[in-house]
């Protein structure tokens, strides 16, 4: 009798546990049709200042929904008018005149005026401080309002690519994003909780087509496996930037394949040993079979690259460079021997990788393994948190090698190539080549499209020939959504546009 009571008691405890859990599952799946939860792999930058934080891709893709510039990119990579209605350029391509759209409102309800535009661009271009917050705006010499709806931007040198930079966010005059996040985008900022979430809501006074869903919660799920689990269970509705094997695991959901639009490479610190020696860099380029890496780490999904340019850029992309270094183990070993390494005295270095980015971690594992097979290279993975990687490896330039993806913040070749000019502040690999600097300068100042394309391609070729980095691929971008979620669109840029995403049925 007693025994039975005990068994019963245990059974009751267990059942109660299960029931409460069960009740909860119904609750989470029952989320409002107007609310969408998106999993993101890392917390946003500490600052949500659109003019400052533009370096962290993960922050930028979320801010895309909140802030807008005078112009904004569309899914085809064209620039479409946003806060501005139209613009004209003078013959010498050094003066741009923007006409403001009427009735564009900030999230606080105030209408955008020329004063706001002048303030925003002046702030972003650092005209008052002398230090541009947005590096691409360094060429701006003045921003003036000529009447209530016209702003004239003058450049110190001609730049045909300039309109692409006018995606820089417009914020209210006199405001500091540190005190409040106010933009003109289809969503307004609601709240954030560190390491937990960022919440945005539909902006009902948006000038254009209103967002389809009322509220988007970006949940920070740093662990790739937890992300898969959350999709499996329906805890989140959508996650982007998954890799092929994660997508395969989620085949019962909607899986969209696009391209991440970034240059994934084993970036090498050209400024210090061992990679200040071009032979060593070339040896690695021969030793790492990028197609094999794509097979091993990405199940064959991804586009092999040979320089700092990806196919979405069309005419700037030079396919010939992709297999410039055909896999050749013998040549790799020869070069390493020339540089003074041997089986008994192997080349050793560390690869800094942000742990939360599964695709980069997987690529790193494959790269380390391929290098190990040479018998002359011992590479060690150094897993890091995003912020540490950013401050130490990227900004602090304290790294041997790192696997990451460099994306374009604007749809211009400069966005990918400017960083390798020897004195560029973002030249974190410390690449220095006079030829490159000359070719790049020629490219940006050129007003002839063909000439410009040729010069940018020359830049790419210099990077490849010098083996500045071991180029790998433009990652396949798997976006997985629950089956009732529709409207996700890929951009040729690293952004996550939530405005068209909605729940159906």
């Amino acid at each position: 009798m007693k025994k039975r009571i005990l068994t019963l008691a245990l059974a009751v405890i267990m059942t109660a546990a299960l029931l409460t859990g069960g009740g909860q599952s119904a609750l989470a799946a029952d989320g409002s049709a107007e609310e969408i939860t998106v999993g993101i792999a890392s917390d946003l930058d500490s600052s949500l200042d659109p003019h400052v934080s533009s370096s962290l891709a993960g922050t930028r893709e979320v801010l895309f929904n909140i802030y807008e510039g005078l112009l904004k990119p569309d899914t085809q990579g064209n620039l479409i008018p946003a806060v501005a209605e139209e613009y004209t350029v003078n013959d010498t391509a050094d003066q741009y005149t923007f006409t403001l759209r009427e009735g564009v409102r900030f999230h606080d309800g105030r209408e955008v005026t020329v004063g706001d535009v002048v303030y925003s661009l002046t702030r972003a271009a650092g005209l008052e401080t002398g230090e541009p917050l947005v590096a691409t705006l360094a060429g701006v010499s003045s921003v003036e309002a000529t009447d209530d709806s016209t702003v004239v931007v003058s450049l110190s040198a001609p730049d045909a690519e300039f309109p692409a930079y006018m995606t820089a966010a417009i914020i209210p005059e006199g405001s500091d994003p540190a005190d409040g996040i106010v933009g003109t985008g289809p969503f307004e900022y609601v709240s954030r909780s560190p390491q937990e979430n960022v919440v945005i809501e539909r902006f009902d006074d948006y000038w254009g087509e209103k967002a389809k869903c009322a509220k988007v919660t970006f949940r920070i799920i740093e662990d790739g496996q937890a992300m898969v689990m959350a999709l499996h269970s329906g805890a989140i509705d959508l996650a982007a930037h998954l890799d092929a094997s994660q997508a395969a695991e989620l085949s019962e959901l909607n899986v969209l394949e696009g391209s991440m639009n970034l240059v994934q490479a084993l970036y090498l610190n050209n400024a210090r040993p061992p990679f200040d020696d071009a032979r060593v860099r070339q040896a690695l380029s021969y030793a790492i079979d990028k197609h094999m890496v794509i097979d091993l780490a990405c199940d064959g999904h991804g586009t092999a690259l040979g320089s700092s340019m990806y196919p979405a850029f069309g005419r700037f992309f030079d396919e010939e460079l992709t297999d410039y270094y055909a896999p050749d183990l013998a040549k790799a070993m020869e070069l390493l021997e020339e540089a003074g390494y041997s089986q008994s005295d192997p080349l050793t270095f560390t690869i800094a990788v942000v742990e939360a980015y599964t695709p980069h971690m997987n690529t790193a594992q494959a790269v380390v393994e391929l290098l190990r097979q040479t018998g002359m290279v011992e590479a060690e993975i150094l897993p890091m948190e995003n912020a540490t990687w950013y401050s130490e490896a990227y900004q602090g330039r304290d790294f041997d090698a790192t696997i990451t993806g460099m994306d374009a913040s604007t749809l211009t070749a400069s966005a990918l190539l400017a960083r390798f000019v020897s004195d560029n502040a973002k030249n974190f690999i410390g690449f220095a080549s006079e030829d490159y600097d000359a070719a790049y300068a020629a490219a940006v100042s050129s007003t002839d499209a063909d000439e410009q394309t040729a010069q940018f391609k020359a830049c790419e070729r210099i990077l490849t020939e010098n083996a500045a980095n071991v180029y790998i691929q433009d990652l396949a971008d798997f976006v997985v959504t629950q089956t009732d979620i529709q409207g996700y669109q890929f951009y040729p840029l690293y952004v996550m546009d939530m405005a068209n995403v909605c729940r159906v049925g």
Binding site: L6, G23, S25, S193, P194, S233
Partner: protein, 303 residues
């Protein structure tokens, strides 16, 4: 207790002063001038005596001002908001589960010592004690989450949205933490009772014609529970530690995840604060256990 607390906080504070790498260089990034660094250091008060800063930090801590996070530019308190509650709820729930499972089970096993039920459970106990909580968490995710669909892995709901949903989601993580500990406590209680059963007073009670059950209930239990209470109190430290890992398994936004992220981000004010809070909880629990033991058995004097 106060001495231990002070010592702990001092240790924690000093540890984070010895770290290679200076918050100022982190805040300023790669290009900064020595003058700017010095100015910022002065502004942050980092150029003053360590003990002075310790005192300020401690008084701030006690009054609820825990400093400012390097990484988020918010106060540590804002950063931790809501996360402490998750970890606390998880730990307390796991702890209560340990008690709820192990006390009845330990008594039952002692009561039916040597029977088949006892032998099966004692063997199972050994295995359960060897399971790492996070692996149990993974198993639960698979069995209860993915196969039986009793909960939504990763579908955490904040207490502000749905209090019961919040507690419901915590049940499986709490069980994952509790079961290995409950197995230990069960075993301890069982052997503690069996030890007592051999004492003289038990034989006397038997000789008066009491049944095994009534001897157990009226005489043995109080004595047998004493060592168990101390142990149960001590498991809280392990439970809190276990919750740090298990939070990761179930994607719970608690102190554990914040701690890991802050360690990775070198956000030392946050790390320091979490470490000290956890240590305080543990010390406090041990103290509480002492008091409870004393109340049950006034013969025990604790220094």
């Amino acid at each position: 207790m106060l001495v231990t607390l002070l010592l702990i906080s001092l240790l924690a504070f000093l540890a984070f002063q010895l770290i290679p790498g200076d918050p100022v260089t982190k805040l300023l990034g790669s290009d900064y001038t020595p003058e700017r660094a010095a100015a910022l250091r002065h502004e942050m008060g980092l150029d003053r005596n360590v003990l002075v800063r310790y005192w300020e930090w401690l008084t701030g801590f006690v009054t609820g001002d825990m400093g400012v996070s390097y990484n988020y530019g918010m106060t540590v308190r804002q950063v931790m908001e809501g996360k402490g509650a998750v970890t606390a709820a998880l730990s307390v729930m796991a702890w209560l589960l340990v008690i709820a499972i192990s006390i009845p089970l330990g008594i039952a096993l002692a009561r039916w010592q040597g029977r088949r039920l006892d032998r099966v459970f004692v063997a199972m106990n050994q295995v359960f004690m060897a399971i790492p909580p996070f692996f149990l968490g993974i198993l639960f995710t698979y069995v209860f989450g993915l196969v039986l669909k009793l909960f939504v892995p990763g579908g955490f709901v904040g207490p502000d949205k749905s209090f019961w949903g919040f507690l419901g989601y915590l049940i499986f993580p709490a069980l994952a933490i509790a079961i290995p500990k409950a197995a230990m406590v069960t075993k301890l209680l069982r052997s503690s009772i069996l030890n007592q059963m051999n004492e003289d007073y038990v034989r006397t009670a038997y000789s008066r014609g009491n049944s095994r059950w009534s001897v157990l209930k009226d005489h043995v239990l109080r004595n047998a529970l004493l060592p168990v209470i101390t142990f149960v109190a001590m498991t809280l430290a392990d439970i809190v530690a276990g919750s740090i890992v298990v939070e990761q398994v179930f994607a719970l936004p608690g102190l554990g995840r914040l701690l890991l992220a802050s360690i990775g981000n070198r956000d030392y004010p946050v790390v320091q604060c979490i470490v000290v809070i956890i240590a305080f909880i543990v010390v406090f629990m041990n103290y509480l256990a002492d008091i409870v033991t004393q109340t049950i058995d006034p013969r025990i004097r604790l220094g």
